[in-house]
């Protein structure tokens, strides 16, 4: 098993399992902040997926996307928190 294969067929599926677990929390909640941290986690996992996929398919270019996610997804979470805190 070559490294890319490990990345694609071992690490990536594990990441996906993590993703599913995250979705479990997303679904069961119980409160909104739980769901927000789920999608925060989702973004983090996304970065992981991209990194692993970059290794697995030899595409360094897509690592640029991680930068964008790292910068931007934060804004989403902040907005959610802002909303959560103020809504009433």
């Amino acid at each position: 098993m070559s490294l890319p294969d490990v990345a694609l067929f071992l690490v990536l599926p594990l990441l996906m399992v993590s993703l599913l677990l995250t979705m479990v929390r997303f679904v069961i909640g119980p409160r909104m902040p739980d769901r927000i941290i789920s999608i925060d986690m989702l973004a983090t996992l996304g970065i992981g997926v991209i990194a692993v996929y970059a290794i697995g398919t030899n595409q360094p270019v897509i690592l640029d996307a991680t930068l964008v996610i790292a910068l931007i997804s934060f804004l989403g979470t902040v907005a959610f928190a802002y909303y959560l805190q103020r809504r009433g």
Partner: protein
């Protein structure tokens, strides 16, 4: 209720994000990126700023009316397309500067067009977000 931690972090993030947005804009012709994504990242930074502080401050730090920014962006994009008409070429034909400019590399009307896109995206996103946020604050 503002957050000290968020405000302080934003002060650091804002320039980084703006810089990054320019980076994405400039290399867009050759690598993933371009005016859209660049513009979106730039507006994200300002949006963050507006959330961390307030819209008024964000508007002031921009120094330019967002709607004017939109118009300027459109004008730049349009102008880039109009330029070739003067050389008898069809609208939106890309013209290249003979010599490459340091850093930016080879300059073309495609690039200025993309800069226009960047400005429009920033202007639009910020107009929308600022207006909405001001509405909320009232």
């Amino acid at each position: 209720m503002s957050s000290l931690i968020l405000s302080a972090a934003t002060r650091l993030l804002l320039p980084l994000m703006l810089l990054f947005s320019l980076f994405i804009l400039i290399r867009g012709h050759n690598e993933p990126g371009g005016g859209f994504i660049g513009g979106l990242v730039a507006s994200a930074s300002m949006a963050l700023y507006a959330i961390a502080y307030d819209v008024q401050r964000a508007r002031e730090s921009l120094h330019i009316n967002t709607i004017t920014l939109i118009a300027l962006g459109l004008l730049l994009a349009l102008g880039s397309g109009l330029l070739p008409l003067f050389s008898g070429l069809p609208f939106l034909t890309v013209l290249w500067l003979a010599d490459p400019v340091p850093v930016l590399g080879e300059i073309s009307t495609a690039f200025t067009f993309d800069v226009g896109v960047y400005l429009v995206v920033v202007g639009v996103t910020l107009t929308i977000i600022f207006t909405m946020a001001e509405e909320e604050e009232n």
